[in-house]
């Protein structure tokens, strides 16, 4: 049974069809206790189906799914007492107040009467909802609803938590706020399975990531491993005209691992090590008298990983916005005015 070596969450060869659609196609997954695991993939990859099987909402057609060693098909009631689920939409009763929502979940999860009120108050405080606690949830902002939803999933202190696209549809500010809350949460030994379409989200929250496509895992590892395996750092240079760009592309070819990508006035180089390549490129361009418009160093994102694995972009909503964010911490753009020399 559930011993130290048993995975907190395990899927073995799980398949599920909905009519003609094969949602899961022999999915294997193992999540170590107390870790955060990210399931990353575009819409329709099968992430939500996997979560719904693990949370006893639907049964797999074939294969086995276990939480803390308990088979979800054979012992669903026991599984439910150890899991918390926050779904794609904030599943709170919008006509009840935040406090009433949490108390309701407290009663339904059979906390002792005396503990129900205290637990609701504690969670409202922790998720910064105390001021809005006695307002109907329909008056909450999107970010507040998600926080309430997350709080509702935690009322009975489940050791295993499933977050299905917790930040989909949130604005960047609310998303970052929710990330902070989730990061605090996983410090305490909770096992967390997180699904997301946002590459930056998996990168930031999860220790290990599986990339899911067409109901199967197509890559698995730490975020660092995936990036190292699949993508390299990109040096992006842009020039004032296409002729200069073409000349620069020829000039800088020796710096790159593969031929530079030339698009109009832009040149992209894949390099193994960012900083020396950047310095070398600036030096070479200065010597040749080629004027830069701008230069930026971009660390590989998980979007690049997905592209490398499938030949497709993920097409997730708002990923441009997130990539803009991740480009920022990669190497930092150098303003055109600070050209070398």
């Amino acid at each position: 049974m559930a011993g130290v070596n048993v995975a907190a969450i395990a899927l073995e060869g799980v398949s599920k069809r909905f009519g003609d659609v094969r949602a899961l196609d022999g999915l294997d997954l193992s999540v170590a206790p107390g870790t955060v695991y990210g399931l990353l993939g575009p819409n329709g990859a099968g992430k939500t189906t996997a979560v719904r099987i693990l949370t006893t909402l639907i049964r797999p057609d074939t294969g086995r799914a276990r939480v803390l060693g308990l088979d979800v098909v054979e012992r669903p009631e026991e599984v439910r007492s150890f899991i918390g689920l926050a779904g794609q939409y904030a599943a709170v009763d919008e006509n009840l107040t935040g406090r009433e929502n949490l108390r309701l979940i407290g009663i339904l999860t059979h906390l002792p009467r005396s503990a129900v009120k205290a637990r609701a108050a504690e969670l409202l405080e922790r998720f910064e909802l105390a001021d809005a606690a006695d307002r109907p949830a329909r008056t909450y902002s999107g970010g507040m609803r998600r926080r309430l939803d997350l709080a509702a999933a935690l009322v009975h202190r489940p050791p295993v938590l499933f977050l299905d696209e917790p930040t989909t549809g949130l604005d960047p500010h609310s998303r970052r706020e929710l990330w902070r809350v989730i990061e605090e949460l996983v410090g305490g030994g909770t096992t967390l399975l997180l699904t997301t379409q946002y590459l930056e989200e998996a990168d930031r929250l999860a220790a290990r990531v599986a990339v899911v496509d067409g109901g199967r895992i197509i890559a698995e590892g730490t975020t660092g491993e995936l990036k190292a395996q699949m993508a390299s750092t990109t040096l992006e240079l842009s020039f004032h005209d296409a002729r200069t760009a073409a000349r620069a592309s020829d000039l800088l070819r020796p710096l790159a691992g593969s031929p530079p990508l030339l698009e109009g006035t832009r040149v992209e180089l894949s390099v193994d090590d960012g900083q020396p390549a950047l310095i070398g490129a600036l030096r070479d361009l200065d010597r040749a008298g080629l004027a830069l418009a701008s230069v930026a160093l971009r660390e590989p994102s998980l979007d690049d990983v997905f592209l490398a694995l499938t030949g497709r972009r993920t097409g997730a909503d708002g990923h441009d916005d997130l990539n803009a964010g991740s480009a920022g911490h990669g190497g930092g753009a150098v303003p055109a005015g600070r050209r070398a020399g």
Partner: protein, 268 residues
């Protein structure tokens, strides 16, 4: 982690106690929703009162009550039954709404008694129906309704029609669980209930209808229940009609509770 090895499924008494607690909690939650949403408050108060007043004063003059009865006396048992039957639509809409918002999915992932989702829903609607019937009784007395029998028979009539409303609620549990949205649940509900409620003895004597319709109107469950409630509230032979109505209500429950429970296990 060790918790998984030490706890098994709870004992039967614990399960029963939890099922009651959970159903009560969800009943409370559903009733709070009724109180907090203005459109639901209107549906449960203003609308039944308007029905009483419209039939009493607008249509009542043109409808011939059976000999020896005033139309308002004839009307009230019918309008009670109509109200509890239409109240059942709220059961389906409420469930469809909860499904659409992901609330049912949340409940299903919790270590709670799964039966309480449907029991809590239908119980809340039973409470709502009881409130509506009390309100209409008061309004009925104000506009001239008088019971010709004793208070016990009157209360028995109310119990009978609340049971009928409860049974119809379970039919609409099935509608709500099968509907893709609250609007779809509503769209299915009205065409189902309208013929049953209006081609019945609720508002007009069945004898005034064409012969082919009478055969249906006289024997369908709404008419049977209206006739039984009328006998209990106004006087006349009761046992046959009451037994028929009980048989319908219990029969509906016997068929639709298991169907609804099965549908619920597969839903979401």
């Amino acid at each position: 982690m060790s918790a998984a090895t030490t706890t098994g499924p709870p004992s039967l008494p614990t399960r029963v106690r939890r099922a009651v607690t959970d159903a009560r909690a969800l009943t409370w939650r559903n009733l709070l929703n009724y109180v907090r949403l203005p459109q639901l408050v209107v549906f449960s108060t203003i609308q039944p009162i308007m029905f009483v007043l419209i039939f009493r004063y607008v249509f009542g003059g043109a409808i011939q009550a059976p000999p020896g009865q005033s139309y308002v006396d004839f009307l009230m048992p019918g309008i009670f039954t109509q109200s509890v039957a239409f109240g059942a639509i709220g059961t389906g809409i409420g469930l469809a709404e909860d499904m659409g918002k992901g609330l049912i999915e949340r409940f299903r992932s919790l270590p709670m008694a799964q039966s309480s989702v449907l029991v809590g829903r239908t119980t809340a609607d039973l409470v709502r129906n009881s409130f509506v019937v009390c309100l209409m009784t008061v309004v009925g007395f104000v506009v001239g309704f008088r019971s010709g029998t004793g208070p016990l028979a009157f209360l028995a009539g109310i119990a009978l029609l609340l049971l009928f409303g409860y049974a119809v609620s379970w039919v609409f549990v099935l509608v709500g669980l099968g509907a893709s949205s609250a609007e779809a649940a509503q769209a299915v509900s009205f065409p189902t209930l309208f013929p049953l409620v209006f081609a019945s003895s609720a508002f007009v004597p069945v004898e005034s209808m064409p012969g082919w319709l009478q055969a249906f109107a006289a024997n369908q469950p709404v008419s049977v229940t209206v006739d039984a409630v009328r006998a209990l509230m106004l006087g006349g032979p009761t046992s046959s009609a009451v037994l028929q109505s009980l048989a319908w209500s219990l029969g509906i429950l016997a068929v639709f509770v298991p169907l609804a429970a099965r549908r619920f296990r597969r839903a979401v």
